[in-house]
Amino acid sequence: MSIVSVRGLTRDYVQGSIVVRAVRGVDLDIKDGEFTAIIGPSGSGKTTTLNCIGGLDSPTSGTVSVDGTDLGSLSAGALSDLRLARIGFVFQSYNLIPVLTAYENAEFVLRLQGVAAKERRRRVMQTLENVGLKGMEDRRPSELSGGQQQRVAVARAIAGRPALVLADEPTANLDSTTSDSLIALMRDLNDNHGVTFVFSTHDERVIRAAKRVVRMVDGEIESDITK
């Protein structure tokens, strides 16, 4: 069974008298272990699609199911709980809680999930090591570079062992070297730890690392290629 199943997803934004159809009837399935890039020009509906999958936005019509549960049937609180348990997020920028250290940011989700202290510590230390931040546990976001901050964001997203990590243009604010190494990290987590990623990008170098590439144009899926 797919982790995510999107059927006929349409999302309209109303601005005054103008209706912008951001996504037009998208069908998409994401399976466990995928490493999928959603690509396409700016305004093609990538962010809207990811937000609907993550339950941050709701479809105008169509359905999004995660683990077989239709998100449209959930209350705001239940959606919140589903995100906590099943979905990790990485945003373009300004992701982290500024008053918490790298360690605490990664630990935050585990605390919310009610993981025991000892287990928490073990998992956070392991995760931070996996994302290459060993020794930087006590730094605040403001004491980290942009690339390092995104690594903390990835660590936070995967620490809670979600079924899937959604990353909306995670490299958009990074220089090419840093973005290469971030995407390599994500791919490594996918290859060696089985973390499922769906990310949007319009960076060619990032696209090359993807196993499956979904191309969107004007709110529709133009092509869907699995390498």
Binding site: L56, S80, D81, L84, F89, F91, Y94, V99, L100, F108
Partner: protein, 410 residues
Amino acid sequence: MLLSLAIRNLRRNVRRTLLTVTAIALGLAMMVFVTSMQKGTYGSMIKSGVASTTGHVVVEQATYVDNPQATEGVSGAQAIADALGAAIPDATIAQRSLVDGLLSSANGAVGVQLRGVQPSVEPLVDTLPDKLVSGEWLQDDDSRGVILGELLAESLDVDIGDRVVYQGNHNGEDYSELLRVRGTFKTGSADIDGFMGVVPLQTAQKLVGMSDFANQVTVHLPDVAGTEAATIAARTALGTLPEGVVVLPWQESMPNIVASIEADRAGGVLMMVFLGLIVAMGIVNTVLMSVMERVREFGVLMAIGVRNRRIAAMVLLEAGVLGLLAALLGLVGGLLLAAPFIVNGLDMAALAGGSMEMEGVVLDSIIFFSIDTPRLIVLAIVTVVVTVSAALYPAWTVIKLKPLEALNSV
């Protein structure tokens, strides 16, 4: 977790946090100061009232509270005083009367009130004997002696040793008596200094044509806290009393003083509410601002699965911590401000430009502030409650946030 996050959020903008805490604390400190002054003033009012009028417990006619008449009182006053003295060993028992009439000298006549007191007992219970400005206090066997208020002596144009004549009508009979001025006193109250004299109790009895009689037999305790116990002890010891005679604690024998304290306290509460509202408005603003600045951050929290309610709870918690800090600081600050006046007192007479008088009782000119512990506890709790309440509206805006709107806000 929420608490530690809340504390860190407060530390993020130290300047704003300190400013807010200081503003709340200042308001509270002011209240603590005023409350301590009020408690001191009330204590002084009660002390002066008890000392110069009814004692902590009084035996008198039930009608005397509302309508004091020179001939209304307790017959067999000495036996009652003895019984009270035996029943309440650590109390001082006094007998007192108040007689009105006309005092005249060669130079004029003034309508006056004469206090009949036991010359050897009165200095133990009241401060009036300390307020002589000329002459000497009365002697027990000096039935002709009178002490006059300084202004009264001036009006009558009499000096120590001069004669004055008392004239009065009680129960339809005329009385007159020749008295000699032994001294003058000054309380600072024009009413008392201008129209009051003091005579020995037996003279007062003679002036109304009675013997072994006093308007009041008063019980003076070393501590006001013993009033209730002493009232019960007095009632038990005296058993059945003559028709119309009652045993009253000071709260019932000085209803005017109690009422004016209540009124003043109510005024204090009003001021508290007013100040609380002003402080609350300031806090609503500050908390709202700190929430607005963090909407995007709240969006991230929501995205990773924190329910809106928990974020709102964090905002309330931040306010709670602010309130708690302010309560502590305000209490300490207010007490520090009040401390010099608790120790050395405040010279109200100097401030008011004359002596303070309330309900016919002259207050000590130096008021010693006093810590009103129950009220301070209420004030501290109210501070925290007001602060948290002020964060309710900002917290409500957080509850209503949608994750995407929050994430997209700048």
